[in-house]
Amino acid sequence: MRQIKRWMGTVGLAALTVVSAWAAAGKMMSVQVKDAQMRDKPSFIGKVVGSLAYGDRVEVQESQGAWARVSLPGGTAGWLHTSALTSQKIALSAGKDDAKVGASGDELALAGKGFNSDIEAQFKKTHKAIDFTWVDKMEKIKIPSLEIQTFLKDGGVVPKGGAQ
């Protein structure tokens, strides 16, 4: 009897985990980073099979750990780390209807509103001594996946898990 109870408890826990999975299959989600790469497996060592842009709506096909296999409606499917995704819709162009929803709406985020490039420009006007040249330079440094793989291998760094 105790065995059965324990077994039932495990099943119950498993069911709960499935139900509460954040990136559940069939769910529509939005890309919340500037650009994201879809890969052919749930790992950063996977081959890039497609790119997604900020605000893109994707459907979650399946999830595995912190990764979700997503697809654009009628488009390519691929794996994306869930930190690139949000449940919110992201409205890319501000229109008159936005006022009804409000920028603090929990279901909708308005792209380009709030602290944005206009505010940065205002800040730069009044703080001329603060130079953004190096910030722009830093942002351009993007290490390709292949270089990261070589770096790990050459240094004898053997990953034990995680997002890879």
């Binding site: 980073v33 602290f115 800040f123 830093m138 290490i143 004898g156």
Partner: protein, 307 residues
Amino acid sequence: MKPLVRQIINLLPAVLALVILPACQTMDAISEVGAAVGQGAGVLTPQQAQSVKKAGSAVGKTFDSITPEQEYYIGRTVGAVVINQYKPLANEEANHYLNVLGQTLAQFSDKPETFGGYHFLIMETEEINAFSAPGGLVFISRGMLKCCKSEDAVAAVLAHEIGHVEKQHGLQAIKKSRITSALTILAVESGKSLGGEDLAQLTEAFEGSIGDITSTMMNSGYARGFERQADQAAVTTLQRAGYDPRALVSMLTEMKKYLKPGGRDFAKTHPAPDDRIADVEKMIGAAAAVPAPVARQARFAQAVGKI
């Protein structure tokens, strides 16, 4: 006539005071009822009532209402302020090495993807310091690099900074009133570009937010709990990536030799290394030591050994 946002901000307390609700009611519900009561009593026009509803919903919001895109813009300016205080080290090889190491580590963190990604830069100062701006711009001083005797030790410092980004500690330094004020402007204003006064007010909230973050990072330091969280995140990231988390202990031990009490660096903004070492050792527990091959030490020495 005063702009709508100002009117709403001024009217908000009065209208909400019309409503008596149990304390457990959310701000949303209160502002909803407040707007209805205000309108019914003829205090508010329908347009103002609608705005009160939205402004009220901004009141209960905290740092997690800041979108990743806005976090990115906050981070850019925080980064620019850091660079303005410390000269960047224009050593391409060293900075490239730091970015390869840092971007590799970020992939093993709980938050590998941020709006603009993780980027790293060395600051040309003997001060022992490291900072991370919201969204993933990370800065490490030459003085701090000198405390690192191996690639694993540099990885430990970077993983700690990535931990602050992951847990959004920078954003949590922003005073709540600034977030409320920014969200109120956005909630009340339509989607069109902001007018003069609103733009000025939003810029003021932005400047204030930058000030809150940079003064916390550079002067007062994060709360002890945040440093512990960043250390815990670092241990996790290092273990997943395959680096030795004990390098965090070695780095802290080395740092202890150089920190001057009362200095304007890490000594001021971080808990004493001994306290952190004790905590980190508990986090690591009995995990097996990770060997570091000669090739790893050689590339570390080549890239940052002589800066």
